[in-house]
Symmetry: C2
Subunit: 414 residues, 2 copies
């Protein structure tokens, strides 16, 4: 095995990423919501690049870009997404797509390698219209009715209208051909500081954590903020604040080593400065890769709510509104990433779960799937300041291409 793959070109990877950054630029990041003009232009840009890697490009009826190879031998599916969160970073999505493109360029044009990398850009991983609609469509988990009902969470535009405006209406949706791929590989920035703080270069993802989401509702008595004495109030907003603090105080003793929990939204009803809130609601999320931990925490939440209600005053109700089972990454693929890191990144890798959701968790439902992470500076993500050192981007690409090579070689040898 050569120390350097002469066909791998780190500068080409950086140039491609910067080309995508220039489409829909926002400060040092991008603003590229699903089906926005810059997003559509990015899809076209990718489709135009794919032939360089010997791939036939198609954009399907849900906006997935797929490149297929006629080369003989095993096929590895590889990719990520091109749209962004609003006013967000330049690497979340494009990094994994360009790594896949580079791997396809290196491998598919090399007659000495048996097999090919097929590139995918899954539409709407960022959830402007739903949850993983592109990759879920590919694995056959999206009905026409779900698309009928989908709306842009910012503009309220229907997905049907957006697909029509993009020129995708009426196109067939492409689905995975059973047995075609040996598996799926996705690269992503870490979106956390584990790699950076440990001076590591590659995260070998072991699992993608499940997300459990709850609506916790507090009911008190709406009344006048000037005339209602403090002693007789049933302030639902205050009950909510106390509940938030109690969660934060008590969860550490009940949670697992990597559990995270977040109150992302609070609504007081009616939300007027002169009215004591009669009702309050919080959206609360727990992530862990161990369902037993989640079960324990959910039971704890329910007990807290029951105790609050039993004390009189306000009542609390905990309603689970989203359940996401964790996805385990394929063990032999993890080994391949680790081996490639040993060869190309001085072994500076660590096995770690992903706290964020990714298309890989969807692909994992129908084929072996794996992910590798590169460091993200300051752990920032979903913000335009998100960034990764160019050197780390190139190292990650090198490890990624080497991983693809090893996975195809292993499959071809069987």
């Amino acid at each position: 095995m050569p120390d350097v793959n002469p066909r791998f070109d780190g500068q080409r990877v950086l140039a491609d990423l910067n080309a995508l950054r220039a489409i829909g630029a926002f400060k040092t990041g991008v603003h590229k919501p699903t089906f926005s003009e810059p997003h559509l232009r990015s899809l076209d840009w990718l489709a135009a690049r794919l032939p360089e890697a010997g791939l036939t490009a198609a954009i399907d009826g849900i906006g997935n870009v797929l490149g297929s190879s006629a080369k003989a031998g095993p096929k590895l599916l590889a990719g990520s997404h091109l749209e962004s969160q609003n006013q967000a970073g330049w690497l979340d999505g494009p990094l994994g797509v360009i790594y896949a493109l580079e791997a396809a360029r290196v491998i598919n044009t090399d007659p000495s390698i048996d097999g090919a990398v097929e590139v995918a850009a899954w539409c709407d991983e960022e959830g402007h219209f739903g949850q993983f609609l592109g990759s879920r469509s590919y694995v056959g988990a999206v009905t026409e009715a779900e698309i009928d009902a989908a709306r842009d969470r910012s503009s309220d535009c229907t997905m049907r209208q957006a697909l029509h405006d993009a020129g995708f209406a009426g196109r067939p949706r492409l689905h995975a051909a059973p047995g075609r791929h040996i598996g799926y590989l996705e690269a992503h920035i870490e979106q956390g500081d584990t790699l950076e703080s440990g001076q590591l270069k590659i995260g070998v993802v072991t699992s993608i954590v499940g997300i459990w989401q709850y609506r916790i509702t507090f009911t008190g008595a709406q009344n006048h903020a000037g005339t209602t004495r403090m002693a007789i109030r049933k302030d639902a907003g205050l009950a909510l604040a106390r509940f938030c603090v109690a969660i934060d105080d008590s969860f550490p003793a009940v949670c697992g080593p990597r559990t995270v929990w977040t109150t992302g939204r609070i609504t007081l009803d009616p939300g007027a400065p002169s009215i004591i809130p009669g009702r309050a609601e919080m959206l609360f999320q727990i992530r862990d890769d161990n369902p037993a931990v989640i079960a324990r925490l959910e039971e704890h939440l329910q007990r807290m709510a029951a105790e609050l209600t039993a004390r009189g005053g306000c009542s609390a109700a905990v309603e689970r509104i989203r359940t996401g089972a964790p996805a385990m990454m394929h063990q032999p693929f993890q080994d391949a990433i680790e081996a490639a890191s040993a060869a190309r990144a001085d072994g500076k890798s660590v096995r770690m779960p992903s706290g964020a959701g990714h298309d890989a968790q969807i692909l994992a439902t129908i084929m072996p799937a794996a992910m590798l992470f590169v460091p993200s500076i300051g752990g920032i993500s979903h913000h335009w300041t998100e960034n990764t050192d160019d050197v780390d981007i190139v190292t990650g690409a090198d490890v990624y291409v080497e991983t693809c090579r090893r996975l195809l070689a292993g499959a071809a040898a069987r």
Copy 2:
């Protein structure tokens, strides 16, 4: 002095209040926002009644209804408002207007009484378009520019458009004629449970509390709710929740005996379930009739915010956005209400501050002003279930008319 005033008619008072309830009825209350069709119909209804009390009716350029008397002798200004909060109660406003109408009917048509009661319905006391725009216009405190800028807080319709649609555009705004009135009297439901719980019939208002309002802003670091470890988070929403709880725990030791405080609205930014809030904001209000108490509490708030910021993590900033000085009610008028309560309500009265704002605080800036309260069942207000027992409504009206008679008699005797 007769035990019963033969001209006073409690059943007429109840009939009038029910006639107004039937205009814009919502469940057992009303939905009568400022300049809505039912509100405008209510203004017309009142204007049509005023001649029965010997008054010439006018509706001016800001929607105030004013009845003026040509009768000789001292004049007492009396009234309240006719619009309601959204989906709110039937008595908040109309009670004071109908008491004033009844007093005018009894007194103005009685040649044995020197002087007259002039009736007013102040527009928009409920603040759909601003703060006390009708009564503030009457005392000369509203500029044309303020009207230009005013918008309905629910529909965003401009006040100019609403005035035009109501047919009031271009009419002059009527202002107080200096020296015309000996003072102003307003009746209202208590909007609290002091009278009911003490089995009292009349509240003699000593002062209308001031309202101080604050925007308290927390700044942390926005980040991904899945990938950011708990230990390194700067969650602005959690900082806000802890601040709310700290206020509630520490204020009782610093506040006055009747201070009330309320967090009416909480906003987390960006408010998404999967993003740690980087910024959070609460609207916080304090009411008290003692500015020294407010000053102490404001200092306490600022110290809490400074301490939070000094601890690192999130920072907090307290910004005062509204200052309302308390209004003291005229002492001799309070004495007159108390004497009338002794004569007509078995002395079942108590002196008490008003925790809510009322037009009387605006009139108090240019003339002696006073208020009397009647009991409200369960202390409920700003809700359609708001109510007062018919017997208490009639008793209150009797005391009100008697108070007007005594105030005019006192003025005529000087």
